[in-house]
Symmetry: C2
Subunit: 329 residues, 2 copies
DNA sequence: CTGTTAGCGCCTTCAC
DNA sequence: GTGAAGGCGCTAACAG
């Protein structure tokens, strides 16, 4: 059996409480006993049980970042923001995947008081689950949806404006037949980008044509297929706005295979500004989101709530157009 | 105060044990009480305290994946391998960063019995820490070092052979002056690749020249600087073997800035086969590691140990050359 | 099927 | 400065 604090105390010839004090550096213990205890601990190879102490303290000092897929091309900048701020505040951070839905690790951590707060960016976690997990003293910040609850906060990037920017840019470059390759219909972000797209069309008196809306699911594969489909129908738009970069990359490949030149024959624009966008040929014009800031802000909100300060329920960050070479000049 | 199982029991008018049984679906409870308890739980918005139950069970059912930097360009394939196998076995997975060294979240999870096993790929975790954390019944698998301990297992890819492959390929393409841009000196993987490089030189009767060894630290920046340095000394080798792809990418940029053409003027080869390698221009010839397999194998070992099966202490996976366009034909 | 009871390992008053 | 004792929230014998 693994040694407990009791064993340490016994070996050191003191009471458990004394051992506990010594091990936690509470200045209440003589240097001599301190040393005795520490030696006993080392000798037994004692490791404390973190749960037991968390249980006692009713506080874990760690926050969870919940991602839809740990291995996905997730936003490394965002994670960096989350990580740095968490560390600065002396808290621990763990990342949990929500693969598996209601049975996932993510849900276990949300619902079982294993962390003091959570940041969610995981479309496969339903609103219901979040609502069930929300409770006093347990701040949840969502980055990918809108949700009404006393204990959940949201930071979102202004995707309507981003969608508008992308579309307007295409229009300003002289394009009028502009397709929209959509993400999955249950994605809030996607929906917002679509609204921005529609707004821009309307603003410029371009009538929306449903044939120019085609569905993907944010994967490269789906962008590839959607583009192939568009190509197969013979009539190509002048430009395509892909709801994210991954799909645009798939599109790029489809065009390459069909010897359709981007941007000479058709212009395309993505969304997200993932790292690859810069390296692909032609480099991808896209919309950048302030990812680091979003992550940092999210944790910041968590800590504000934890320290019982008053916080806005909702934040909106703005986007920026990154001009590269996939749109005809 | 948040409701506990006691509150639920009281409201439902049953004993705590009964409530516990009901909540955990132990078939020992009549449908009627079952329902009463569940309703009470819902009404109070009861959420169980996972720690308390882990404490009681002395088992957490989760394993930790320890990475040097959650936001880094870490091996997404590897994570996928780890994740899938973990899920298949009905365990939970959390990712912890080791940023912060001995104070990091990673160390807290290693040392405080918060997980049932761990997989480590984090150069900034020292061997000492691992040795201190190792104990009976707590399998640790390391992916980035060699370490002697009864309770730690290793799976490594055959980096000596990989380094050999890369170098030999360069030699077979007619190069004899081959530089090695090294990773940090404390990296075991780097060391192995270097040995492979040296072996290949010797095998082909090429005498090693220390001027062709220059240091980086696995970052793109360092590859850039190392390459600039090489360029600055006037005399360029015919080919460069970068100890990882990131550094090779930095090198590519340096050459571009100096109007030195890859592969016409100089050949380069990387190591890792990260996603970008394929998209950069020219695309990067490199060594691929079986990352998914490594991850999957690592967890597999963890579970074998956990179920008290006998397992090899060490595994070695092989590498593969990916031929692209950064080496002169 | 249900209730009583005894800890899991640790922290923390409270007396001494 | 040190020790005894109670309890954090939950589970699992053990009785009934």
């Amino acid at each position: 059996m693994a040694p407990t604090i009791k064993d340490v105390a016994k070996l050191a010839g003191v009471a458990v409480s004394t051992a506990s004090y010594a091990l936690n550096n509470v200045n209440k213990v003589s240097p001599a006993t301190m040393k005795k205890v520490q030696e006993a601990a080392r000798e037994l190879n004692y490791l404390k049980n973190g749960f037991a102490s968390d249980l006692k303290r009713t506080k874990t000092n760690t926050i969870a970042l919940i991602l839809s897929d740990l291995s996905g091309p997730f936003y490394s900048e965002l994670i960096k923001g989350v990580q740095e701020v968490t560390m600065t505040n002396g808290y621990d951070l763990i990342a949990c995947s929500s693969v598996g839905g209601a049975q996932s690790t993510a849900v276990k951590f949300l619902k079982e008081k294993r962390v003091d707060g959570a940041i969610i960016l995981a479309h496969n976690i339903t609103d219901d689950i979040i609502l069930e997990s929300a409770r006093e003293g347990f701040p949840i910040v969502v980055l990918d949806r809108k949700i009404e609850n006393e204990f959940v906060y949201q930071v979102e990037v202004d995707n309507i404006h981003g969608g508008y920017l992308a579309t307007e840019y295409l229009i300003n470059k002289g394009h009028r037949e502009i397709a929209f390759v959509s993400g999955p219909f249950n994605s809030y972000d996607n929906e917002m980008r679509y609204i921005g797209y529609m707004d821009a069309l309307k603003e410029h008196n371009i009538t929306y044509q449903s044939k120019w809306k085609v569905f993907g699911d944010f994967t490269r594969e789906s962008g590839y297929r959607a583009t192939k489909m568009l190509i197969a129908q013979r009539e190509l738009p002048q430009a395509i706005f892909y709801a994210n970069d991954e799909m645009a990359l798939g599109g790029l490949q489809a065009f390459k295979e069909n010897k359709i030149s981007v941007p000479d024959d058709i212009s395309i624009i993505g969304y997200d500004d993932i790292q690859l966008s810069e390296y692909v040929t032609p480099s991808l014009t896209t919309i950048r989101q302030p990812k680091y800031e979003a992550g940092a802000l999210a944790v910041h909100v968590v800590f504000q709530v934890l320290s019982k300060e008053k916080v806005e329920k909702s934040f909106k960050l703005s986007t920026e157009l990154i001009e590269r070479n996939s749109v005809k000049y």
